[in-house]
């Protein structure tokens, strides 16, 4: 059944259809609607999970840590400063190997105040041990929430589903909603091997020395590596059931392209239109969209690129003193592979429009550039 949904509504509906058992929330623009929808469903008796309103985002994640340790399927949503306030607990959850699923609606961090989309909030949580997937449409938001529970519960790592503030969260698109029976067949109930149980008391997360700590992190590394396969396998299974397949990467018209736009999030769908416009001019353009950011799809990326390719990486994020974060990670993943040059473009920070025209201009600039790897990011904005 197709319905016209905002990105936030699609996220809430997916959490409901995943039969989330405990959700804890604290409102923040532009993610609040996700909670409003779940609260409304709870009031009507449709949402059967526990719904807890916490006093802060730090408490949200602490409450979910407890609920997930007790064996519940858990969900929350936040944005920007709310996510930043959770930071300490994000480490606790990942280290405790709890498959909590959280939607982060991208929004710029202050100062100065800014409500609009910017990926620096989620990318600042890069090293917490959470998986991260960036969505380009509202359909992908719904599908990725369902996929994330499946993948997270297999590898026992928490998963962040990321969508652009307003550009997706408050924009309405047709979304194909699977039936509850189909979702149940794809996503069986969460049955952890270990959980808090009064009949079998055990304690978790007690003090460990360096020998165990190193090995626990090494186990996490092995499970992150498995997650790369888990993302592709779950995406294929999803495709067989629902007709929409997903992987770590999403390539559009890349077959004979030598210069690619490399994008993430909603910019990925704008880039398809830019590629179509460039192709109409007879130019061999393609778009490579990164869905997965953690685990970073380094293996998939290495297998995808060909010597001589030029990558125009569009970063709606910025690491002060370094540059665009996707560009840095892509360079690191491809080093020292010769013949692929990576060109970083920082744009659209704090919600600036990244238009079809601007993406064409970025592509044309990189396509004409010598095949050298620029060190510094190029800053651009759409002045139209």
């Amino acid at each position: 059944m197709k319905k016209v949904l905002s990105g936030n509504h699609a996220a809430a509906l997916a959490a409901h259809m995943a039969r989330t058992q405990v959700t804890v929330g604290y409102p923040i623009t532009p993610a609040t609607q996700i909670y409003e929808v779940l609260a409304e469903m709870k009031a009507k008796g449709e949402f059967l999970g526990e719904f807890i309103a916490a006093e802060s985002e730090h408490s949200v994640m602490a409450a979910l840590l407890g609920a997930s340790t007790a064996g519940a399927r858990t969900f929350t949503a936040t944005s920007s400063h709310g996510l930043a306030y959770m930071h300490e607990l994000l480490h606790w959850v990942a280290g405790s190997r709890l498959p909590i699923v959280m939607v982060d609606v991208n929004r710029a961090l202050a100062a100065p105040w800014n409500l609009w989309t910017d990926q620096t909030d989620s990318l600042s949580q890069r090293d917490t041990g959470w998986m991260q997937t960036y969505c380009s449409t509202n359909q992908e938001v719904l599908d990725t929430v369902l996929l994330s529970f499946k993948i997270a519960e297999r590898v026992m790592l928490p998963s962040m589903v990321v969508l652009d503030g307003f550009n997706l969260s408050h924009s309405y698109e047709p979304v194909d909603i699977p039936s509850q029976a189909e979702v149940d067949a794809f996503l069986p109930p969460f049955r952890p091997e270990l959980r808090l149980d009064p009949d079998n008391p055990i304690s978790f997360g007690a003090l460990t020395g360096p020998k165990d700590y190193l090995r626990l992190r090494r186990r996490m590394a092995a499970d992150m590596a498995e997650a790369e396969d888990a993302i592709d396998e779950a995406g294929r299974e999803f495709g067989q059931m629902f007709g929409r397949s997903y992987g770590q990467l999403d390539a559009y018209r890349c077959e004979d392209a030598e210069t690619l736009l490399v994008t993430s999030g909603a910019v990925g769908s704008t880039a398809r239109a830019a590629v179509d416009a460039l192709r109409e001019k007879g130019l061999k353009a393609g778009n490579l969209r990164l869905r997965a950011f953690r685990p970073f799809p380094a293996k998939a990326l290495k297998a995808f690129v060909k010597p001589g390719m030029k990558l125009a990486v569009v970063d709606r994020n910025y690491s002060p003193g370094a540059g665009g974060i996707f560009a840095q990670e892509i360079k690191a993943a491809l080093y020292p592979r010769s013949g692929v040059s990576v060109h970083g473009y920082v744009t659209g920070l704090g919600g600036g429009d990244i238009t079809i025209e601007l993406l064409q201009e970025i592509w044309e600039r990189v396509d004409g550039a010598p095949k050298t790897d620029p060190v510094a990011a190029t800053w651009v904005e759409d002045a139209r």
Binding site: S203, L216, R219
Partner: protein
Amino acid sequence: MPLLDDDPKAYPRVMISTRSMDENLTGNWRTLRPIIDAKTCTGCNICWKLCPEACVDLTDKVPSIDMDYCKGCGICVCECPAHSVHFVAESAS
């Protein structure tokens, strides 16, 4: 070089313990000891409510604090409305 070359997945994802947390006597962290003045205590139970270690006992009219677990955080000292809880140095007691 002592490389870690065994299968990382042979190692558990989390460390658990079956030992009871009762054994974890956090009272030995304490440097200041809270003392309740029975003469001014009103029995309002706020110390019991706010104790993060849940080690205030209400069996008697005047609460007692379980020194095996009290870390000496001082929340009861700060929050007692009657100012009936006072710190004394452990070395003095």
